[in-house]
């Protein structure tokens, strides 16, 4: 599909000094925000997207990938040190990380988290690089019916697995699709649901909706909970024994099967849209405990517990990009945000991506591997520094993030109107979250909405009023029929 010269040129682009610098900056920022409970890499990515406007596409996307990967490492730091996961997927890390820190080995716990995270992430990146091109070739053979079936299947899985119940999941997806209807109807080019606002002729600005739903609503919730400006104080004892401060190669090697199992679980879960890294971390933790000869030590500072959780939650990141790069369907909200960055830079994700932007994609793969190496290096020197970050008061961190959101959306979504849209969706996101509706399902449905409508329109045109024509598209028909069956099955399993 792609010639070797394009692949090598793409990988070479990743090593350009500017790209390297932006990836490094992303990793540093990611570890920093990951260490601050309540901000996290998703919110940081949402805020950072508008600031990548002026960058070269690879540098901008590499910067966002760096934030995501750095955030996965940074999230483990508060989980280990103050039993407060910086990101939801680090919750499983706290189960053994915090007891280990209380035993006087906080640096050992955070370093094991770092090594396992980088190993799991690299494993899933290698899987991504290996399987995405062949999958994209397969995806190129899909017509509108198959694309429609695939999207229905993705909606069914995501809506069934996220939110408090399947009815809430489906309602969140419907609300996301409804928001995507705002703008010009793709078949007849008539304005729809615009309420006299000509700024939304091209649809609601994705950056404003994403930042409002994901960042501002969460900031509002956290500010509403903040009663005291004092942050937790952390004391890392200086008189630790050297073996309690580091992870020896023998200790890492002893965890190799745990790390590998976690990486495989994380990769498999990450490749499926909607399940997410938190589930992967807990599944890997449970399986590590299941096969361990010393089950009783889990939850009391077992280093295998940290290795299992961190390798799995980090492996989700690379695998999440598989459906995104090959089919244009984001597997998670981080992937949806990176897709929106692609689109901002004029790159349309999906199976044609490898054919039309092969050099950029292999540049991205190179940047992902480099980000893993940088994660390791920055983590080695930055751990003590990030510990100080946790002590910054929430009032300062959250207010600064709010100001950044205002400015970021103003840059990305056309000034004050964009900020207004952001605030409206922030209120919606806050209410939806409070009532158990998943904002992630909303965002993914909003993102896929226009493509869904076009696929549906093309499918109906192909069928020309005769549903029996669907029999000519057996794969598409199978996926369309499988969507409700899978939704009901997943809902029953959840119940």
């Amino acid at each position: 599909m792609l010639d070797t010269a394009t692949i090598l040129a793409g990988l070479g682009d990743a090593f350009q000094p500017v790209t390297l610098l932006y990836v490094l900056a992303g990793v540093i920022m990611g570890q920093f925000v990951g260490a601050v409970p309540g901000i996290g890499p998703v919110m940081a990515t949402a805020i950072a997207i508008p600031f990548t406007f002026g960058m070269d596409p690879l540098a901008g996307i590499g910067f966002l990938v760096g934030i995501n990967k750095g955030g996965l490492v940074g999230g483990a730091i508060p989980a280990v040190l103050i039993n407060t996961p910086g990101t939801p997927d680090a919750a499983a890390t706290a189960l053994d990380g915090y007891p280990m820190a209380q035993q006087g080995k906080p640096l050992k716990a955070t370093k094991m988290a770092l090594y396992s995270s980088v190993t799991g992430d690299t494993f899933s990146d290698i899987v991504l690089i290996t399987v995405s091109a062949p999958l994209a070739i397969l995806a190129l053979r899909m017509g509108p019916v198959e694309v429609l079936g695939l999207m229905l299947l993705a909606f069914a899985v995501i809506a069934s697995l996220m939110g408090a119940s399947i009815a809430r999941g489906l309602a969140a997806a419907a609300l996301g699709l409804l928001a995507a209807m705002v703008g010009t109807d793709p078949e007849h080019a008539t304005p729809r649901l615009i309420f006299g606002n000509f700024e939304v002729y091209d649809g609601l600005p994705l950056a404003a909706v994403a930042i409002g739903m994901l960042a501002i609503s969460e900031l509002l919730a956290r500010l509403a909970r903040t009663r005291s400006a004092q942050a937790a104080t952390i004391d890392i004892p200086r008189d630790q024994l050297p073996e309690d401060r580091r992870v020896s190669f023998a200790e890492y090697w002893a965890c190799r099967f745990t790390v590998l199992r976690g990486a495989v679980i994380g990769t498999l879960i990450g490749a499926l849209p909607g399940i997410g890294s938190t589930a992967a971390a807990f599944m890997s933790y449970a399986s590590a405990k299941q096969v361990s000869p010393d089950r009783a030590s889990f939850g009391r500072g077992n280093i295998h517990g940290i290795a299992a959780a961190e390798s799995a939650n980090s492996a989700v990141m690379g695998a999440n990009m598989i459906p995104m790069l090959t089919l244009g369907i984001p597997g998670s909200v981080s992937a949806a945000l990176i897709v929106s960055a692609f689109m901002i830079h004029g790159v349309q994700p999906g199976p044609f991506l490898f054919e039309q932007q092969g050099r950029l994609i292999y540049g991205l793969f190179g940047a992902m591997i480099l980000a893993n190496i940088m994660n390791l290096l920055v983590g080695q020197v930055g751990m003590r520094l990030w510990v100080r970050v946790i002590t910054a008061p929430e009032s300062f961190v959250l207010t600064s993030a709010l100001l950044l959101c205002f400015v970021g959306v103003s840059l990305a979504a056309g000034g004050l109107f964009g900020i207004g849209v952001m605030l409206a969706f922030a209120v919606l996101g806050f209410v939806m979250t409070a009532f158990g509706f998943s904002v992630v399902v909303f965002i993914i449905a909003f993102f896929l909405g226009p493509r869904f409508e076009i696929s549906l329109s093309q499918t109906l045109a192909l069928l020309n009023g005769d549903p029996l024509c669907l029999l000519d598209y057996p794969f598409g028909l199978a996926m369309i029929l499988a969507a409700p069956v899978l939704a009901v099955w997943l809902a029953r399993r959840r119940a």
Binding site: R168, A171, L177, E187, R192, A229, L398
Partner: protein, 138 residues
């Protein structure tokens, strides 16, 4: 139980509102084509109403959510007021006092952190956006 019934009723109302008022008002009637401008919005509205009915008939959630509504509304109000003032005076004049008010309500009283939030952060944003990126602030 109560949460699902209230939320379900709200979704049914939203579905009805869309079907009988918003979609006929805000989407043009077109007499040709398989997928007309109103078709998908109608499908979505019906889906919302069905989800609402499902939640009312088979409720699962126990109680009303414990979100801190008054404080969240206060912060949202400050942000909306900030936006309104920004449209008149601009970010440089409104950003610092807005940050100060938000931090004070959040309980911060230490002068160093208040200065960092109300002066340091807006100044850093101004340097990054207006000076380095050469983009206009809101």
């Amino acid at each position: 139980m109560q949460t699902d019934r209230i939320t379900g009723a709200a979704l049914i109302c939203l579905g009805g509102l869309l079907i009988w008022w918003i979609i006929p008002w805000q989407a043009e009637e077109v007499g040709y084509g398989w997928l007309r401008p109103r078709t998908l919005p109608y499908i979505i509205a019906v889906s919302l109403a069905i989800c609402g009915a499902w939640m009312m008939l088979r409720p699962v959630a126990e109680a009303l959510p414990h979100a801190n509504w008054p404080r969240a509304a206060l912060y949202a109000g400050i942000l909306i007021a900030g936006l309104a003032l920004m449209s008149r005076f601009g970010f440089l004049w409104v950003g610092p006092p807005m940050a100060l008010v938000l931090m004070l309500i959040a309980g911060e009283r230490r002068p160093l952190w208040l200065t960092a939030g109300a002066v340091g952060t807006p100044a850093a944003i101004w340097v990054c956006v207006a000076v380095l990126l050469e983009r206009p602030l809101p």
